[in-house]
Symmetry: C2
């Protein structure tokens, strides 16, 4: 067994810009994994909390620089920081095409877009949890111009935090998360708003199905709005597909939804995939993920439906 | 303080027909509360499980008889049982107007419709939990012809199981649960079905918002279909109101949904309500519930928004 990370590529230092729930948790997870982590936040309380967890608080960053700020702040997140000219820049934003346009234009070939599929309806540095990424899938974008060594460097950061890496493109990512994350936020909002109109008796009779169906709209409404508006095209298309489903006869609709939800958790078939864009993207499209990096391969799995 | 139940009305025996998740849990909760409970189920395994929890397994029933069978079986649930001619009959069905029509016609003035707002996506006697009703709201119907002493007898059963009693009518109940329970099941089904169509990458990136938003469609699809079709009119109307919400500009929609979901848990203002239909229904419409029965009053609360 080859030790991780492989000796041929020493783990680079990591800088985290934005120490709220996601950035603070990532910094804490990497410190716990023995990585050298620097971090910065405009909020002194967030800086202090990170420092208490072993993060070196500084605006000087090198290696892999992670932008963990809200989408509206992404384009200007590096302003005033002292980032090494060859540093690889990644982000944790929930939408990838607009960040690719903004940050990708600003830092060019050094940018690799990412999105860990975790977080809760809480936010801010008080919600920091070093275990947040354990077992989570982390989408990592391989555009035609992405440099594979930089992609691997960011992948190693994600793996160090306990996540599994899903190779994808910004466009495919945005379509997928519209269906499984952004539309759920809109449905939750509509369900809550309509129940509010129905009145106190309805809210008094609300139980598990209402609580679960509305949980995500407990999140900060500014962040939710930025997320759905930042992915407006794919979200509108995915919402239209949900509305199509809602026009089906109810027995058909219920059966179809139950079949997806109740599908037995797929097994995992281990695979080795060469370090090559097309092969990695195929792994992601098949529902697979990278779990380990070897010298010339990554190890991972695809769902085993057999 | 007056002890409960009040000495003027000794707790009647309870018979539970159907010993699956709801009926089995209710029987177990009442046994734990020291009540005399008989029970019956067509499934010998469910009868055996109930007997092991101290339920007397018999088709002879008296006092308050609780129909805890699926909606399609409700009309014929009493067939073959030996029920005392003056027994009060109630049910736990998730829709009240059709049961009022079926069972109400069959047993007439002895019927009081009920619906405890609890249960999980599991079903069957293996899912029995004597704590299932603790703190749950239990809608109990006061139609114009409902006899108040029978309503109180059923209310005392619900209170003994640990629930709070929400006085309502079948029609108002069905409108309310369409908004907070039946539509959430349809939204969950549509969300899951659309994500299934989006493919393996989307399902691989599905995280908390998708899991929460689809949980209830893990329930038995036959029961879900019977529930929404048994409440078709109110559910279609409530679904139309959700679709209206979905046509609003997203920032407005997100803000409106967040406001309902994030509303601070209302305080509770204790109230005493005379044992009178109009006063009890007003309590329910205000979002309140009955928590205790005294001689000539019930005690309860209304939400305190002050």
């Amino acid at each position: 067994m080859t030790a991780f990370p492989v000796p041929t590529m020493p783990a680079p230092p990591v800088g985290v810009v934005g120490l709220g729930q996601l950035g603070g948790s990532l910094a804490a997870a990497l410190v716990a994994a023995g990585r050298e982590v620097s971090g910065w936040d405009v909020d002194p309380a967030a800086r202090e909390a990170a420092a208490a967890r072993g993060v070196r608080v500084t605006g000087q960053m090198d290696g892999v620089v992670v932008l963990a700020v809200p989408l509206p702040a992404m384009a200007r997140a590096l302003e005033g920081l002292d980032v090494a000219p060859d540093a690889t820049v990644t982000d944790l934003g929930s939408v990838k095409t607009p960040v690719l346009a903004d940050v990708g234009t600003a830092v060019g070939h050094r940018y690799v877009g990412g999105h860990p599929m975790c977080g809760t309806e809480r936010s801010g540095h008080e919600a920091t949890d070093p275990g947040l990424f354990a077992g989570a899938r982390w989408a990592l974008c391989l555009e035609p111009g992405t440099e594979l060594p930089r992609w691997l460097r960011v992948a190693e950061v994600a793996l160090s935090a306990g996540a599994e890496v899903v190779p994808t493109t910004a466009a495919e990512h945005d379509d997928a998360v519209a269906a499984v994350s952004h539309v759920p936020h809109l449905l939750a909002a509509a369900l809550a708003a309509a129940a509010g109109e129905a009145g106190p008796l309805a809210l008094a009779l609300a139980a598990g199905s209402f609580r679960d169906g509305t949980r995500v709209i407990g999140s900060d409404p500014g962040l939710v709005t930025a997320m759905v508006q930042g992915n407006a095209g794919p979200t509108a298309a995915a919402l239209a597909r949900v509305l199509d489903q809602l026009s089906r006869p109810w027995p058909e609709l219920v059966a179809a939804g139950h079949a997806v939800r109740a599908a037995a958790p797929a097994g995992r078939r281990p695979v080795r995939v060469p370090l090559e864009r097309a092969a990695l993207l195929s792994l992601g499209r098949a529902g697979g993920a990278v779990t380990r990096r070897l010298a010339a391969f990554v190890e991972g799995y695809v769902p085993d439906v057999g």
